[in-house]
């Protein structure tokens, strides 16, 4: 693997097993329901945070996950990192099923995560160097080598080690802190990095710098990214493929160009329509979507979007549509309007 660390004697690089054709990550039927305590006389209810989410991540690509707040993006990330237990579903990393073939501890070396809040994700009592060196030390690297690695990674993320290594998180800026978080994630030389709203809290100029840094690091270390964001422009810029989530479900997925050019799900259309345009001739005149997402405790039967969908028909309230392939590029959508012969008046008659 192209892991350019000179301290090869310390942390064993994670080798590629399945080859290029084997997806790096295969997620099937991932589900997480949070129990909500009911009152004394009311039944216990559940919030469907993530419901039957399946997707694959190919080696070397960047997959974006978009959706509004509370749609289960971050829960998905935490489930993948095994920071919370899943109710159902299978996670296969490079052909190895997590659990029987690959331990969670090994998975956590192969997969790392960058959190949104750059301040909360660094221990205020540790120096930047200590924070980065913590992971490698946990995995058995000697203190001096871990510190060397930390300083080297600081250089890789564009922070001069002699200035920043001994600083505390409150002494550096938000953008610098997020660079430190990226260095910390890279310290275990993972192959997959989950970026959970990693640039969302940064201001625009810093965001652009960090995005470029991410692109450079991806090239240098041969990384694969799972990029979670609510910022559609950023997702389009960085992603190869995109997953649109609504109330815990994947409603559309496909190559970013296809999804942007021809969004098949009305929710994706609404999301894209909600993006402010910088061109005055293409000003958004009508509100692209109305109402709030329904309470995830009392999910509507049928398609979860039908309460807000302008094209909803009686059919939509009956059963939830499954993801349906639209072309050979992997573009899929879960909407009756995209499924030929579904019975919806706008459904295509033939493929």
């Amino acid at each position: 693997m192209a892991i350019a660390t000179p301290l090869t004697d310390s942390l064993k690089p994670i080798e590629d097993r399945g080859g290029a054709a084997q997806p790096l990550l295969q997620v099937t039927g991932l589900r997480k329901h949070f129990p909500v305590r009911g009152g004394l006389f009311t039944a216990r209810k559940t919030v469907c945070a993530v419901d039957d989410v399946s997707f694959t991540v190919i080696k070397g690509e960047t997959v974006g996950i978009v959706g509004e707040s509370g749609c289960g993006k971050s829960t998905t990330a935490r489930l993948l990192m095994h920071l919370m237990n899943r109710d159902a579903g299978e996670i296969i990393y490079d052909g190895m099923q997590v659990g029987p073939a690959l331990s969670v501890r090994e998975l956590r070396r192969a997969m790392q995560m960058v959190f949104q809040d750059s301040y909360a994700s660094l221990n205020p009592r540790l120096t930047v160097e200590d924070s980065i060196a913590f992971g490698p030390k946990v995995h058995g690297m000697v203190d001096a080598s871990a510190r060397n690695l930390a300083r080297e990674l600081l250089g890789k993320v564009g922070l001069r080690p002699e200035i920043f290594a001994n600083r505390y998180p409150h002494e550096i800026s938000g953008g610098q802190r997020q660079r430190v978080n990226i260095a910390r994630a890279l310290a275990l030389s993972p192959r997959l990095v989950i970026l959970d709203e990693a640039v969302s809290a940064l201001d625009k100029s810093v965001e652009a710098q960090v995005l470029n840094l991410l692109a450079d690091l991806k090239r240098e270390f041969g990384l694969t990214y799972l990029f979670i964001s609510h910022d559609l422009n950023v997702v389009r810029y960085i992603s190869d493929r995109v997953l649109v989530m609504y109330l815990g479900e994947v409603v559309e997925l496909g190559p970013v160009e296809q999804v942007w050019e021809a969004p098949a799900h009305p929710y994706t259309r609404a999301l894209l329509g909600a993006m402010p345009s910088s061109d005055p001739d293409r000003r958004t005149e009508t509100p692209p979507i109305s109402g709030d997402p329904p309470n995830p405790i009392d999910l509507p039967p049928g398609c979860r979007f039908h309460t807000r969908c302008p094209f909803a028909e009686p059919l939509c309230a009956k059963a939830n549509p499954k993801l349906h392939a639209l072309d050979r590029m992997g573009h899929q959508a879960a909407c009756y309007m995209a499924i030929p012969g579904s019975g919806h008046s706008r459904a295509p008659t033939s493929v």
Binding site: P6, R108, F134, G158, E162, L188, Q209, D216
Partner: protein, 316 residues
């Protein structure tokens, strides 16, 4: 290496990557003394505390009281147990009695200084014991969560059903009078309070992203506790415990006042306050002296705890 370099960040990272060719440069960086060397957290807190005039004054007063209690036998004071039936209740400033004499004609200055030994031990040691036990319980409850948290915290809540003074009196009364018993009863009184604070602080820290990140690095619970939780939790608990010392001093004095703590003729501030209360109309200034000592020590600890709290709040 990087091929495209449109933005400044790109150029910078590329330049840095070439400027630092691997290990040798990092070693050089390790040896060179960094110009912008950051001070440690506790050094910063100490400096901020030193700049606070109120805290410094309080620390100085406490130091005087502690030091005089410690070196009392070498201060050439009068015998605190030696009374005189003809020299009772002398006023402050009487020759030979700089702070007057008590109802049995014993020198007040000597008794106040010697009294500090017992009063401070009985006042402070319950807080130390409760700090050790309560922090451990609270850390476990806060970090493990779930049923263990419920078990520990509900057990602790039982003690909250009683007012702390009443609880201290009840336990002391049940165990019998004596210094050790009053320390035990006060420890039991403070244990729930410190446990509760420790639990809430730990729960707060535990849910921060850096603990998640540490778990994501593959660290076990004990490593996370040692490296990431303790350092962030002990400070606030310590501040709270320092504030409790004043309460403990007053409760300990109260137990002695009620005859549940120290026994006469031992000099102890609370007990002195009790025995002198009959003289309050004859010589009010002398009768108030032990109370003034209790007041001085507790307010100093309170202000010091406030000062530490603001000194530790470094983000602002």
């Amino acid at each position: 290496m990087t091929t495209v370099g449109n933005t400044e960040a790109n150029v910078k990272s590329a330049a840095l990557a070439t400027a630092i060719p691997g290990n040798r440069a990092s070693e050089a960086a390790l040896q060179s003394t960094p110009q912008a060397r950051a001070r440690g957290y506790w050094t910063t807190v100490g400096r901020r505390l030193l700049r606070d005039k109120v805290s410094i004054t309080c620390a100085f007063i406490l130091f005087l009281i502690f030091a005089s209690a410690l070196i009392a036998p070498w201060l050439h004071l009068a015998d605190p147990y030696q009374g005189s039936m003809i020299r009772r209740l002398r006023h402050i400033g009487t020759p030979g009695y700089p702070l007057g004499s008590d109802e049995l004609g014993r020198d007040m200055l000597a008794r106040l200084i010697y009294g500090g030994r017992l009063s401070l031990v009985v006042g402070i040691s319950p807080v130390i014991f409760a700090f050790c036990a309560g922090s451990s319980l609270g850390l476990i409850a806060g970090y493990v969560g779930g049923r263990i948290n419920t078990a520990i915290m509900r057990a602790v809540d039982v003690f909250y059903a009683f007012p702390s003074v009443l609880l201290a009196i009840a336990i002391s009364g049940a165990l019998g009078a004596g210094i050790v018993n009053s320390i035990v009863s006060l420890t039991i009184v403070f244990l729930p309070q410190i446990t509760r604070v420790a639990e809430s602080v730990t729960t707060g820290v535990r849910n921060r992203d850096f603990v998640e990140a540490a778990r994501a690095s593959g660290a076990g619970p004990f490593t996370i506790m040692r490296v990431h939780i303790l350092g962030n939790v002990l400070g606030p608990i310590f501040v709270y415990a320092t504030g409790l010392i004043s309460v403990s001093m007053i409760l300990a004095a109260g137990l002695s006042f009620l005859g549940l703590g120290t026994k006469p003729p031992e000099p102890e501030w609370g007990l002195m306050l009790n025995t002198l209360r009959t003289a309050i109309y004859i010589n009010p200034w002398v009768a108030a002296l032990p109370g003034a000592m209790i007041f001085a020590v507790s307010i100093c600890f309170n202000l010091l705890s406030d000062g530490m709290r603001s000194a530790m709040d470094i983000r602002n």
